[in-house]
């Protein structure tokens, strides 16, 4: 969401720049006595379209829906960018880099082909969730690798490790 916000702000900035330049050109043309082609076209559209016409209602509905979607996306709780090591600690770990490191540790287990790790924090407890393409018999090895890596990172108390192993598809 952070990246989406930044890209959206850049697009908004470009739109403001382009729209502002257009408004300057049209305003100066109108001040000199010759209204620009855009003003002429928009004037005709805006004075003939009524609020209850279908296009006006569709645009209004679209704007409302867009606003609601953006509002929900901005107000819901985001996943934190960093995780505090302990409740009263001043040390934090960058969450995404941690997840990548844990995924690398899982990938080092024999029979694991691909792995993705998501880290959540409930109070003082970390809850890693692993999704990996591997032999289901490798569950204990995956859990051991994760425990060892979390120990090396001096991670705080951890809850149950949620391991989901998907068998690799075999070519027929």
């Amino acid at each position: 969401m952070r990246t989406v916000n930044r890209v959206a702000t850049l697009l908004l900035a470009v739109a403001l720049l382009a729209g502002g330049a257009l408004a300057v050109a049209e305003g100066l043309l109108a001040a000199l006595g010759g209204p620009g082609p855009l003003v002429h076209r928009w004037y005709a559209t805006l004075t003939t379209t009524r609020w209850q016409d279908a296009p006006a209602r569709a645009v209004a509905g679209g704007v409302t829906l867009l606003g609601l979607v953006v509002l929900v996306a901005e107000l819901r709780r985001w996943r934190p960018a960093r995780l505090r090591l302990a409740e009263d600690d001043r040390w934090h770990l960058h969450r995404r880099s941690m997840e990548r490191r844990l995924a690398r540790a899982v990938c080092a287990v024999p029979s694991v082909r691909r792995a993705r790790v998501r880290l959540r924090r409930r109070g003082d407890v970390w809850r890693p969730r692993v999704t990996a393409t591997a032999d289901p018999a490798a569950r204990a090895d995956v859990e051991f690798a994760l425990h060892r890596e979390l120990d090396r990172l001096a991670a705080p108390r951890r809850g149950r490790i949620d391991v989901r192993l998907l068998p690799a598809r075999r070519a027929t």
């Binding site: 952070r2 930044r6 004075t47 009524r50 409302t64 606003g67």
Partner: protein, 183 residues
């Protein structure tokens, strides 16, 4: 611009979209009066004609302001993060205040932090008063290193720094990023 600033901007814009779109939809659906009127009524059109040529100039000035706002937003959005330089403030005897740039101080602390085991790069930002600064540390650590030894070294480095500068850090905040392994 910080993530919080982006979030606030889009929350405000979303509220504006919902309010404007909802009102227009209510008028269009007949829940509010005025559904039969054109989008641009006679009033604004008369104002535009009566104000010529000043109305055109007003639109041009509005366009300049919008373009300036866009330019500022673009500059803020394209600014490379991580170049934030902190300043310390030293209150004077009178009403004045001396602002101290911290590059020299942070460079020394960063060099010390880079000697910690497993730390590849360090960045420090100091803010707040000279006597009790807030110390913000970002470390890039080796992908295979443990954190225990690095923690001890960082704590010692900050203590050394405080003793050398003669300050008492009011707040220490450390963020460790695990680096990607080198190919």
């Amino acid at each position: 611009m910080s993530n919080a600033a982006h979030r606030l901007l889009w929350t405000v814009l979303a509220l504006v979209f919902v309010a404007a779109g909802g009102t227009a939809l209510a008028v269009g659906l007949g829940w509010l009066p005025g559904g039969g009127a054109p989008l641009l009524g006679a009033g604004p059109a008369n104002w535009w004609r009566a104000g010529t040529p000043w109305s055109g100039l007003a639109v041009a000035v509005g366009g300049v302001l919008a373009a300036l706002l866009g330019q500022r937003l673009l500059a803020a959005g394209l600014r490379v993060p991580g170049r934030l330089a902190g300043t310390l403030a030293h209150p004077g005897d009178g009403g004045g205040r001396t602002r101290v740039t911290t590059e020299v101080l942070t460079a020394a602390l960063e060099r010390d932090l880079c000697r910690a085991p497993g730390v590849r790069r360090a960045r420090v930002v100091l803010t707040g008063p000279v006597s009790g600064p807030d110390v913000w540390v970002e470390l890039r650590v080796d992908p295979y290193a443990g954190l225990g030894a690095a923690r001890a070294h960082v704590d010692a480095a900050v203590r050394r720094f405080a003793a050398t500068v003669g300050c008492q850090p009011a707040h220490l905040d450390v963020t460790a990023l695990v680096d990607e392994p080198r190919p």
